[in-house]
Amino acid sequence: MSEQISREQVRHVAALARLEMDEEELAAYGRDLSDILGYVAKLNEIDTSGVEPTAHVVSMETPFRDDERGESFSHEQTLKNAPQREGFYFQVPQVIE
């Protein structure tokens, strides 16, 4: 009963992830994703009524930090991996709405 992922769905997900794919890749990823979802779908065979949904395997609460200043990076550290920079700014291709 595995769900079949259509070529269009793969194309949509790829576009959202900014991935370029040719027809062959679309077909291949469609098969892979269908297989993965089919595997995970095994979980549907278990009766989970009465089990609270959770997004984590550990049952913990999130820890807090106090609102106290710590060290930031230096400009050099922050900008070290920037493909392009201008002064203390990161430089990117123009984005104008």
């Binding site: 999130t62 807090f64 930090r65 002064g87 700014y89 990117v92 984005v95």
Partner: protein
């Protein structure tokens, strides 16, 4: 055809924490680009966000002050999209389990009270700032100082039916956040931002019309104009048999028009999912109760109390509660002076007028509440007239001098109450203006004011006005 306007508002309020929501970088505005950044807020691989406790506390404060239910368990989610101001490729926000839900805010428009529902309040991180060079050089610059600065997103129900109601809601909400001291409320600098969802429908129709989302309104005035413009735009479309399309429109305050934001229409698909880096936020009831106890008196409660306790009219109270420091100033001066209505009159006229002219704030007012009270006492005990008091106040304000009595003494402004001396002056004035005296006696009593003015002029404004009236009248009629 008559249309009903439907407005819902989304507010983003920047919180006044020292540090960012998930890292210990400073939130200071105006530092050098990228000075306040670290692996967490620039989204370097492997960096882990840790939640700032104060952000949660501020969210609880906002929720309680707007009558929301505080969730004992809420969840951070990733909102996925690509944009250069978003270093991780997702914004950490809250989705199906926000921290506050189901609140309301009461507004007053034209003397009518109306309740506006608040759907939810959630915590999230801000994005960085893009800078576009003036020359067309094909590049943009990115500053991540603002990335990860804590925001509250406050979403209203589509309960507002006019731009005036929308502005009243925004003002009320901003006042509350400022009273809570969790947001500075600065709309121009973007620490209090608003998006408006606007649609219209024929009266009586239950179903909502297609809405447009308005952005980029950085003042109450612009919110009002942008909504009015949008309502007219949609009305014209519908009246010509057209269809409104769902879109985002940017307000252009220079030209007073809005423009469609093309390219953003493609259906958003944010693929929200719970952020695996952050565990559920658990808020114990004892924490909520502690925050509840620490809440300050809120604007509407203060307004009601000012009217009941000091006997102020609603119009006075509305202005005085405009900010906590102004309300505190009034209360301090009223306590020192005794006559609250007189204090209110002076604050609303002389004091605020001067502060507005100087673009000053009450916090930096050169005259203290005690100084103002001292001045008003001089009027009440007859040392000076109200008119002279304005001169004295001007001097106090200009010099930052609280000693009203000292100024009155040094400049010889003490009111002339000497009956004999004033009688002499009155006689002199009447002798100098026989024509006016004649007119008065023929029944043209309007010249009385002129004669009073002449006496005041002779005394450089220092004569006791009541006494001058009495003496003049006696001389003229007697």
């Amino acid at each position: 055809m008559n249309f009903e306007v439907v407005i819902g508002l989304e507010v983003h309020a920047q919180l006044l924490t020292k540090t960012k929501i998930f890292c210990s970088c400073s939130t200071t505005f105006g530092d050098e680009p990228n000075a306040n950044t670290c692996p967490v807020c620039t989204g370097l691989p492997g960096a882990l966000p840790v939640l700032n406790r104060r952000v949660v506390e501020y969210a609880i404060r906002a929720g309680l002050a707007t009558n929301c239910r505080i969730a004992e368990r809420s969840v951070f989610a990733r909102k996925n999209y690509f944009y250069p101001d978003l270093p991780k490729g997702y914004q950490i926000s809250q989705y199906d389990l926000p921290i506050c839900e189901d609140g309301f805010l009461d507004i007053f428009v034209d003397g009518e009270q109306k309740r506006i529902g608040i759907t939810r309040i959630h915590m999230e991180e801000d994005a960085g700032k893009l800078v576009h060079p003036d020359d067309y050089s094909g590049v943009s610059y990115v500053d991540y100082n603002r990335a990860c600065v804590p925001l509250l997103e406050i979403v209203s129900e589509p309960d507002m039916r006019s731009s005036a109601e929308a502005v009243a809601y925004l003002k009320g909400l901003r006042d509350i956040l400022m009273y809570l001291e969790i947001c500075d409320g600065n709309m121009e600098e973007g620490s209090f931002r608003c998006d408006a969802n606007v649609s219209i429908r024929p009266f009586g129709q239950e179903e909502f019309g297609i809405r447009a989302e308005l952005k980029n309104m950085n003042s109450f005035r612009n919110v009002q104009r942008a909504i009015d413009y949008e309502v007219e735009r949609q009305r014209e479309i519908l009246e010509q048999g057209g269809r409104v399309i769902q879109e985002t429109r940017l307000w252009d305050a220079d030209q007073n028009i809005s423009r469609s934001m093309r390219g953003k229409e493609e259906a958003h698909d944010y693929r929200y999912f719970p952020d695996p880096d952050l565990l559920p936020v658990v808020v114990e009831p004892s924490w909520i109760e502690a925050v509840r106890k620490s809440l300050p008196e809120l604007p509407q409660a203060k307004r009601d109390r000012f009217m009941a306790e000091y006997g102020l009219p609603a119009a006075d109270a509305d202005i005085l509660i405009g900010s906590r420091p102004l309300a505190d100033y009034f209360e301090a001066a009223a306590a020192a002076a005794g006559n609250a209505k007189m204090v209110s009159n002076w604050i609303l006229s002389e004091l605020l007028r001067r502060l507005n002219d100087d673009k000053g704030s009450i916090e930096s007012c050169p005259v203290s509440p005690a100084g103002l009270a001292g001045l008003l006492k001089l009027i009440e005990n007859g040392t000076i007239s109200g008119k002279i008091a304005k001169q004295v106040f001007a001097a106090m304000y200009a010099e930052g001098n609280d000693d009203a009595a000292g100024i009155v003494k040094a400049r010889g402004l003490v009111q002339i109450d000497d009956r004999q001396a004033l009688e002499e002056i009155v006689r002199r004035v009447l002798a100098a203006h026989p024509d006016e005296v004649e007119k008065f006696r023929q029944g043209k009593t309007k010249v009385f004011g002129f004669l009073v003015g002449q006496v005041m002029r002779e005394t450089r404004g220092k004569a006791n006005p009541g006494l001058v009236n009495e003496l003049l009248r006696r001389e003229l009629e007697g």
